[in-house]
Every structure is written in C-alpha cells, then in structure tokens.
C-alpha cells in the first residue's frame, strides 16, 4: 500500500489559537463541577463503615456456620467430606463417639484456619446434611499474627452473635427452607 503523506499539525499553534484569559482553568473547573454536583445529589454511595454496612447477597460466601439440630447438638457427623474436598487443606476434624445410636458419630474438634481458607464454598457443597453453611460475615481482620487467631473452632462457628447479625449466606440447596432454629447465634437476624 502506498504511503500517503499525513497532514502536519502544529499543535502549539492550534492551542494558542483557542487560548483565552482563563487558559488552563476550564478543565479544573469542570472537575470541580462534577464534585459539586455529586455533593448535593441525594444518592449516597459512600457509607460510614464500620458503623454502617452494606447488605450482601444470600449467596455470599463468608465465614462458615455449623448448623444445629433442634436439640441444640451439632448436625455435623464428622464424615470428613469437607476436609477431603477442601483445596486449601484448611479444615481439620477429629471425630468422637456419641451415645445416641441414631447418630453414632460427631466431631470432637472442628477447625478451619480462616487465614488459609479461600472461601470457595466447596466444603458447603460437599456436606451431605447441610451441617455446614456459610454466613454473610466478611470482616475478619485481627491484630495478632499467630495462626490460631484466625483458626475457628466449634464454638466460633456456632456461638458467635455475628452469625445471626449478618445472616446466612451460601448454601447449595436454597430451594429448601432454612429452619431458623438450626442457625445458631444469640440474636436471630434476617435469614
């Protein structure tokens, strides 16, 4: 293809042709205008976190919740499917025998190292009994460096009031109703 000569533009001359006394300030003023316009607009985008929080989706994959039976015991039977499927290998379980012959097995220790957890939700999908679901809790910052500070045990997954405050998150079969009494927590929140 033949090369055609381009039109040569003297950029500087072009700029001076349009220059006025307010040269260089129009762009700044336009920006300020955007700011002023948004300042007086009624719609607020920024919220006062952590006093104010945004609601998250019902499918949000936050901190795990161990659900309970009606008598308050753990639904989990320590089948280790979550531990087996976990790609981050952050779940560790020990099992124990329980008196009730219909149940036989329960976890004596159920720990997730949330600092290693990638919140993929595979554990929840693997659970055959919906004994493990996720909540909408997401703020997990701690001030200690020790790995234990983010390793949650049975008490953390059942006894924290945050669970109820944030509400239940991801579970694989939302078409089945989630019985409110199964979700632990001191205060029953929106589920």
């Amino acid at each position: 293809m033949a090369k055609t000569a381009s039109r040569v533009v003297d950029v500087r001359a072009e700029a001076e042709k349009h220059a006025t006394g307010l040269r260089g300030t129009t762009g700044t003023l336009a920006g300020l205008g955007v700011t002023l316009r948004n300042m007086v607009r009624p719609q607020h985008v920024t919220i006062q976190y952590p006093e104010q929080r945004k609601p998250y989706s019902r499918r949000f994959r936050g901190v795990h919740v161990l659900t309970l039976r009606e008598d308050g015991s753990l639904k989990c039977t320590a089948c280790y499917l979550c531990e087996t499927v976990c790609p981050a290998q952050c779940i560790s379980i020990d099992a124990k025998e329980v008196e009730d012959p219909r149940i036989e097995k329960a976890p004596s220790r159920y720990e997730i190292d949330l600092s290693r957890c990638i919140f993929c939700g595979f554990c929840v999908e693997a659970c055959p009994e919906e004994a493990l679901i996720m909540s909408r809790e997401y703020d997990l910052a701690v001030t200690a460096r020790e790995p234990e500070s983010l390793t949650y045990g049975i008490e953390d997954f059942t006894g924290r009031s945050e669970i109820a405050a944030y509400g239940a998150g991801f579970r694989p079969h939302p078409e089945y109703p989630l019985v409110e009494s199964y979700v632990p927590g001191e205060r029953k929140g929106e589920i």
Partner: protein, 548 residues
C-alpha cells in the same frame, strides 16, 4: 496342565485352580465378597458370576475349577455376566443403610468400589429408603470389634474364619431372607485372640475395628510396608499412619508366613511405643548432652574402663534390633575391645524362638530377630544372667547395652532386676534405648535410638526368612537409628567411616555371612506381600486419586 482363556487372555494353571484364582493371576478383576484366598470358597455371595462358553447360565468363578480349553468371559467382556452381577449387587444393596459418611470402611469398601464400577453397578435404586429393613447398629462384640448388622452382605467370611482358622466358632447367622443377621454366640463378646482380623476380612463396614473406630478416614492415611516386631513369627503388616502418628496396623498377605492374618497383640503393638516416655536427648551422667560430645565420651569411657584395667567389655544387644544394627554392634565390639563378652540373650530367646504360643501365629519368643542374631554370629552364650555373675565377681570392666522394650508383653521382673543389678555393678555403662524405663535409670550414658517403625532394616524370622521393614514415622527429637549411633561410636574409635545406611550394611552382611548369601536388599524391599484389602487392588487413594 489346563489352559484357560479369560477375556481373551490365556493362562496355564495348576489343575484344581478355580476360575477366580486364574483371573487373579492374570490380573483380570472379578468382583467378589465371599471369596478369600485364605478361606474355603463357599460361593454364597454370587458376585463373581462369569459367563463360561458352553455353560447354559453364568457360574460362580470362586467355586468353578478350570478345565482345559475353558473360555471364560467376566463382566468386563460379557454383557450377560455384567447384567447378572448388576442384579446381584442391586439385591445386596436393597437393605443397605447407605450411611457411608459415618462408616469407617468408606474408602476401602468393596460395596462402594463395585457400585461405582460401570460393569458391576451404577444402577438406579428402586428402593424407597423408608422401606428398608433395619437391623441392629453399633453392637458391642467385645474390646476389638463393633458390629453393624445393617451393613452386612452375609458373605460369611467371618463365620468361616472363626470356624476354620481360629476354631473359636463364635459367629453365626440367624433368621432368614431379608432378616438374616450376624450374631455372636449367645451375644457374648468375642474371645478370639485374632478377632481384629474380622475387621480386615469383612468386605463391607459390618465388622469394624474398635481401636480404629472414627480415628481417621482411610483415604487420609499413608501406607508403609513393615514387619511385625512383636514376636519371632515376623508377620507381614502395613503401617497406616497420618501426620507422623501410627493409626493402625493391618496384615499384608504372605502365604509363607502369616497368610492374611495378624494377632491382636501384634495389631495393637504400636500402642506400647507410647506407654513410657521416650528418650529424647542423649544423657551423660544424668545431664542432657550433645550427640557429638556424648558419642566421643561413650567410646573413650568404655575403652578406658576395659582396656586400662585389663577387663572385658560386656556387650549385650537385644534381638529386637535389625540385622544391620546387630551386625554393626558386633563389628564395633570385636574391633574396639580385644576382650569382650558378646551376648544377645535377655532370657531364653534361643529356646523359645520356634516355640508356638498357639496353633496359628503367635510364638513365645517376643523378639523379632533372634534368628538374625544367631545367623550374625551372636551365640547363645552366658546371656544376661551370665553377665550379672561376671560383674558380681568383678570381672567386667564396662557394659554396652542395646535394649528395646518388647512390643508385646513385658520383660519378666527377673530380667528387669538383672539389668538393674548389672548397671549398678559395672563402673561404666552405655545404654542405647528408646524409652525412659525405671530399670535403665542407673545407666551412666543413655543414647536415644529409633524404635520399631522409625527405622529401616531387615529382620530374620523363626523360619530364617529375611524380611524388610520400611521406615514409617519420624523419631522424636534427637533419637537416631541405632545403626547410625553405633557408626558414630566406631568413628570415634577410629575404625574408619563405617557404612551405616541399611542397604549398604546389608550388602556387607550378604557378602560375609553364609545365611545371607545371595540376598539383595533392594529385592527384599520390593518383595511386597500383597496389601490386604481388597485382594490385588490398591486401596482407594493409592492409584493417584488421593485426598491429600
């Protein structure tokens, strides 16, 4: 000899071989529940149905002997056999509770594996879970076994084991049809000292080990082949461990030694490793010391106490050490101490080594390597008792003792007293051991060594068979394999730089000791007896699909 064709492959077998055995030799899988290579075939589960040319209907492979020219098609090749097997499996699963999430067998269960195989299972269930017949769960069958009657497929392996192998005859089926149930005699606890085998031979999760109950999912375990060090029989076993802890021991099949069995004492012998606290650091005169210093001190103190005073060294290595350890022990003593009394007997090992404790496996001698010690040039001399006499007469300059507490049972009080007495009498003593034991407290220098399962090596059983044991778990803290520790002592005595790696020590032994001539370490290590469940198949997790 008859030549049989199975799925298009030919094999020549001994007359009287059953079709399933021929298939096993060929490596063709035929699903089975009731057939077991070490039990009489019974043909009751009907899972091994195969299509034989010229036969009107499928026949059971386990109870059909091969004849020359037989052409067999397994479910892999014959749609007829496959349909038959699928029907059998569907029937077996009719009342199965499907409680795999809480069943310890899950992961090594024949029902699970066969159902997932497209040629045997994967049929849609036609049973409403609410209509299943329920039976007793968590039945207490004594300290070893828990029965879950619902999961049973009535293969009768356990009944036949109890009847034909141990002769206790404690298990039987009652009732008929859907309601057949396994019960123990008068519902009593099992008395069988081999009861642990029920959990191994049960192809499903009906009979389960109480010791392993809910401990760990099987796909989490690592497997190491080893040899039982509980007595002189030298049963082949597999150490299943997780995270550096032994979780269970299960037998490996070796038709010449233990067939597929293991006694309960041997099965639980790993627990005795935790009975007393382990020696974690070398100790010199009651204080913790550094390995480099203490090895030099041990050698020089032993030599000055003997050579300087023209007295012999009493050297006793218990027959629980590996062949490699005992060989280096003997070489060190003979090279560094012109005057020595080299012994290995704590009590009456040499008399008891072949003595049976029962008619199946257990033997009276609780040392795994008495035969090895004899082959390696240790003699049935004065033994521990003689050394005490020598020490009492003041004719012993020092003592070098390699002592392992027995994995099954305990040494007699008499033996313990003799050790205490010996350690009190000799002016210098170096003890290589695994545990802090009250009767070893008087040792001047205590060197921690690796216990069984923590070191690699060979043991010679009562028949003179040399068998290899691999290292399964790590030793605590500073404990090292005894062969290495003795190598250190040899170095300090300036006898060069001896090889302490078990394979190289073994090569040296094979070179010099007639009983070991022609044996190769690598061959022993790879001569794997088949891992027990299910025969010829790798347990789930070893075929590359592992949970870890």
């Amino acid at each position: 000899m008859p030549i049989v064709t199975i799925d298009g492959r030919q094999i020549e077998v001994e007359p009287g071989t059953s079709v399933i055995q021929a298939a096993d030799l060929l490596g063709v899988e035929i699903p089975r529940f009731c057939y077991h290579p070490d039990l009489e075939p019974e043909g009751n589960c009907r899972m091994c149905l195969v299509d034989v040319e010229g036969f009107p209907k499928p026949v059971v492979a386990c109870a059909t002997p091969v004849v020359d020219g037989m052409v067999v098609k397994t479910p892999h090749a014959s749609p007829l056999a496959s349909r038959a097997v699928k029907g059998v499996l569907e029937f077996l699963l009719v009342n199965h509770p499907i409680d795999c999430p809480i069943c310890d067998k899950a992961g090594e269960c024949s029902l699970q594996d066969f159902y997932m195989h497209p040629d045997y299972g994967q049929h849609p269930s036609q049973v409403n879970p609410g209509e299943k017949v329920h039976k007793r769960k968590r039945v207490d069958l004594g300290p070893r076994i828990v029965l879950d009657a619902e999961r049973c497929v009535m293969c009768s392996r356990c009944v036949r084991f109890s009847e034909n192998v141990t002769g206790y005859k404690e298990l039987q089926f009652i009732r008929r049809g859907n309601h057949v149930e396994l019960v123990s005699f008068q519902e009593r606890a099992l008395q069988d000292p081999y009861a642990g085998n029920f959990a191994d031979i049960c192809p499903v999760g009906a009979l389960l080990s109480r010791d392993f109950r809910f401990k760990r999912r099987v796909w989490k375990l690592d497997y190491t082949d080893s040899i039982c060090a509980g007595c002189s029989t030298g049963c082949n076993l597999r150490i299943d461990h997780f995270d550096g802890r032994i979780e269970r021991l299960i037998p490996r099949r070796n038709p010449d030694v233990n067939r597929s069995w293991l006694c309960d004492e041997g099965r639980l012998s790993y627990k005795t490793l935790d009975v007393a606290p382990r020696v974690k650091h070398p100790q010199q005169d009651g204080e913790e010391a550094d390995w480099v210093e203490v090895a030099a001190a041990a050698d020089s103190r032993l030599r000055s106490a003997t050579l300087g005073r023209e007295l012999p060294l009493g050297a006793l290595a218990s027959a629980s050490g590996t062949n490699e350890t005992l060989w280096l022990f003997r070489r060190y003593v003979e090279a560094a101490f012109p005057q020595h009394l080299l012994e290995f007997r704590l009590a009456r090992e040499t008399e008891a080594v072949r003595e049976r404790q029962d008619k199946l496996l257990r033997r009276v001698d609780k040392h795994p390597n008495t035969m090895g010690a004899l082959h390696l040039g240790f003699t049935a001399g004065m033994g521990l008792e003689g050394l005490v006499d020598e020490a009492e007469a003041g004719r012993l300059g020092a003592l070098l003792l390699l002592y392992y507490p027995p994995l099954v049972g305990e040494d007699s009080e008499e033996t313990k007293e003799r050790i205490v007495r010996l350690l009190q009498l000799v002016p210098e003593s170096v003890v290589l051991t695994t545990h802090h034991l009250p009767y070893l407290a008087a040792a001047k220098i205590l060197l921690p060594v690796a216990a069984w399962s923590e070191e690699e090596g060979t043991y010679t059983n009562y028949q003179g068979t040399v068998q290899h044991a691999s290292r399964a778990v790590a030793s605590p803290s500073a404990a090292r394999p005894a062969a290495e520790v003795i190598g250190d002592l040899m170095r300090h005595a300036t006898y060069g730089r001896p090889e302490t790696e078990p394979g190289r020590v073994f090569a040296e032994i094979a070179d010099r000791v007639p009983a070991f001539r022609g044996l190769r370490y690598n061959e022993l290590a790879s001569r794997l007896a088949t891992a027990y469940p299910p025969e010829g198949r790798m347990p789930y997790g070893q075929d590359g699909f592992t949970g870890r």
